[in-house]
Amino acid sequence: MTSSEPPAGLVRPSRSDGVIHDIGYRHYSGERLDRGYITRSLFVSSLRGAFGLGRSGRSKILPMLLASAMALPAVVIVAVINIGSLDEQPLPYSRYAIALQLVIAIFLASQAPQLVSRDLRFRTITLYFARPLERIDYVTAKYLAMTAALLLITSAPLVVLYLGGLLAGLPFDEQTAEFAGGMLGLLVLSFLLAGVGLVFAALTPRRGFAVAIIIVVVLVSSGAVNIVAAVAWEEGAFDLAGWVGLLSPLTLFDGAQVWLFEAESSALISPPGTLGGVVYCLVALGCIAGSFGILLARYRRLAAT
């Protein structure tokens, strides 16, 4: 029951045969939960929204297709390992996300605007900020929801690979260590990409614009970095080739996880030495914190309008 008070009046007999009974206005005397509950509710509804749950049937298609596309190669690989009796994973855990960057980028570019641009375009954001939750609660809920959504679609295939690998009798200790490193790497990747995606999605209420920018920032930048790295490598500028990865989210993630978890790199050349590793990690951390900060600042302006 939401109301402990009796209805303001008894059911009034309607003059006609109508069946709408006016039981009067009932006050709500139930519990009013705190900002923590509100933030969690917003997180859950946003996470569900990223997969089209609680939305129209049509909006479920793309996220579900992408999630399947993400997992399908893992299923094939597992089949190959088991049938072909391989003695190691043909595609290391740490390289799976990079190999499927196209799918991840499309997922981010389509769902980040879904999470934030809608509230801006239809100005629903006003209704949120007229409620108890504060700016930081909104940004936290949306950031964590996008991160969790990315983590879900990127880590599911890794779980498939891991279980399939164990099934095929690959060494448990080695597999577990590499799998754990890969999962932690995906956590970094998800935070990194969620930040990039949300910042650009929150800058514009126009969805198409946000989609294009996110694709450019994630995919095109990574392609450009790889080209520059390849040219630098050819020219013998190995240091430059190692450092240039800082300029794109995906290569930044790769460099950071190589140093953090001794992961196998997808890049031509890893960040130079310990200094390189530390710088890659700090820049990744800075990007995550920076994205959060930019979102807070963005919503400070919006909350007051």
Partner: protein, 309 residues
Amino acid sequence: MTAPVISAERLTKRFPSVTALDDLTIEVGAGVTGLVGSNGAGKSTLIKILLGLLPATSGRAAVLGRDVATDGPHIRARVGYMPEHDCLPPDVTATELVVHLARMSGLSATSARERAADTLRHVGLYEERYRPIGGYSTGMQQRVKLAQALAHDPQLVLLDEPTNGLDPAGRDDMLGLIRRIGSEFGISVLVTSHLLGELERVSDHVVVLDGGRLLQSQATRDFTRTTQVLSVEVTDLPARRGDDVLAAALVAHGLVVRREGRLLLVDIADDATYDVIRDQVADLGLGLIRLQQERHHMAELFRPAGDSA
């Protein structure tokens, strides 16, 4: 007298290019209060400050006894807000939206569903509430905006121009709803409009803002008495203009008369005013073309008082 629902003390808000609120001191009690002012008078700015969303440049304000500068979340938990602009996503149903927003006000999932059904019914949305909002008329959209403001059973609702964009029938419905919120629901209301006339009908109290300053604040009863006006138009006499003659006669009977072209605007002192006008018109042998009670527009409040005949 119970504690004021809203109080502002020397409240000032300056933007880089404009002063939106200028040394505003008001107190708003329970019931329905109309906040009247032309566009740019500072109504929306005042609401933003009261919700704790916009810091004041100087001065203080309290809502439900809590300081807006420090207690924003608490205030917003017990206050509902209906913005002036469109704010509804078209691709969800009214029920989905109101349930979600009730949860955002801290209601559990079950309570949110019950409250959403209740409030949507109270604002007059029945079967439509299961259809996407994109297909709603302006009147229905305004009702959804009102429902989300009421979903968490607030003690006070702030309604910014709720009759905007509505046709006359929709306007009447909305004003009726606002009246019910104040009386039946027992929720205090602060409602803004640039039309004094429509607020007179539903408010217990009217506050008039102009250029961020307080122009007038009084009970609607007093307000109506001092501002209600009859417009009178008469035929001419063979030798003299009828309006001149009648104006002189009415002033001689102690009425306040202003001229507007051929129209005489007579302040209604009490019911006897009508009789005086009728008798004078008859005694002077004038033909009465028009005797009409005027609905006020804001502009008339700002007319200097020295305009009388």
